[in-house]
Subunit: 117 residues, 6 copies
């Protein structure tokens, strides 16, 4: 069972995307579309692509992006061991500056796993 | 009429700048001065410069900087269509990692425009 | 008349884009298409959009991207004074770390203007 | 005497590191260890290393990292004048995009110094 | 058969690493060691980890790092279709600013595949 | 005795700065001035400030900036042991993505020290 803050995160994300779409022209809409297409199963499985998105988000240090991909990784049944190894690659590539994001990533993962934080 | 959170943002910004100025030496003060000079009308109109500052802030993913330039864009009577096109350039240059900032940018714009978020 | 190194830059860019397109799937092709659409004249003139792309490229410190937008700025008849002011915004936003790119930007601009570097 | 928000920051940091360590494999643990070793006194004094970590954190724009190094700088008896000069280097290298982080840095420093913000 | 520029890249990399090791203290050596450990097969296969390293390197826009992981991806028998999909994730996350690196990535891949560029 | 490539680096830097100054308006000139003032001896010694500039440049991954500060560190009689420890902080903060720049930093240092690379 998913903890409150993840649910709130997703609702807030939806609320704000609705505002974006009120203003978005064709190019922004195309970008949004592309942003979902690129994670679809293809030569690489969707779960691998979600881990790619996760590690890219960690090294670029975007908490919202990390959280989004964690939700998707959970849906794709990425295990905690797989997750830890993916994040370890991100930590070594991106350095200690990623640690605050790593902390929040594992906290969100704990919530997603239904464990007490 | 501007929504509360923009007003609060500006008051907080002022409060913190006062703290900075309590410590700032000559070089920091010069930087602050330069940071306002560079947006003054010249060969380029102030409104174009504010859009340059806005897009630079979006691709560097600084919410506070984005919000500041949105306030200034509004004062310079940048339209919602112009804003959307400027942000679309930033989105394509900076990628999906800018989307969380884009969302918060449009929310702030909605507040600035006096519409309900 | 444009100096050699700009011509070589454009030829190399074409050569490499041909290689990309040999591998590119639908999503990459869509991204490339979006990347040209977003600079088209709309509510904002094309020349303003090129300056937005230029400053975004400067603060993100991408020499190739800066050079590309300089060529386009020249085509859109951006003046040297306008260019200097746009780059000054980028310099103040992005800091001294952008200076090596600023140097190469002005050198390319000199070549584009047909002056001796 | 240290203000509340610094204490809360340190407690939250501890709480989250405990979660990280629940998942961390050998490589993450080694990284955490390395991250503390590298600031130990050696050819350079610990206080110089903390200022290096501080300025690196400012230009990479990580509030949590800045705050952590401020706490350590205070422990190493870095003076407010030394701090201002170190942050001024960071401001000029990193540009105006670092200003929101600079503001929060000086606010935290005020708290660490036991002065009213 | 691998083209010249990849061989030269690897030899130059070795030559420079030898210089680093002449100066490196214990912490740098530990970092280098960690940097190879983290890509070892574990819960995730080595090939997945190399793709994670590749996409992280693309979004952070490091040509040398991209090239290194391309060599490793080739050794791990990543196919061109898999590679294209991984890089497409990086392109969408990191935006058009990654395109110059994407171009050089595919050129290196062409060399690694023994095809004429 | 300084090796050729450092001399060439400095001459090229001068040549390009001359081009910048041909275009630079008052704000750019002020920025350039600020960029030299901020490293002047004050509460912190010039050598500490050069190391701050060096580590900031390493984590932001700017080879030209790293090289410039290495020249200055050498002039300020920073020892190889001090340099290694400063760069180790940068490596851990910035991660493996800084390694290509670290390699080139030590190569330049070898040249500056008059040793054979």
């Amino acid at each position: 069972m998913v903890g409150d803050s993840i649910t709130e995160f997703q609702e807030e994300r939806e609320r704000l995307n609705t505002i974006v779409m009120r203003y978005a022209g064709l190019n922004m809409k195309r970008f949004y579309n592309l942003d979902s297409q690129v994670y679809r199963e293809g030569a690489l499985p969707a779960r691998t692509k979600e881990m790619l998105g996760l590690v890219a988000s960690l090294v670029l240090r975007c908490d919202d992006c990390v959280k989004y991909h964690l939700v998707r990784c959970r849906e794709e049944e990425v295990t905690s061991d797989e997750l830890e190894e993916a994040l370890a690659v991100g930590l070594v590539v991106g350095g200690s500056i990623t640690i605050p994001h790593l902390r929040r990533a594992f906290e969100a993962w704990t919530q997603l796993a239904g464990e007490r934080p």
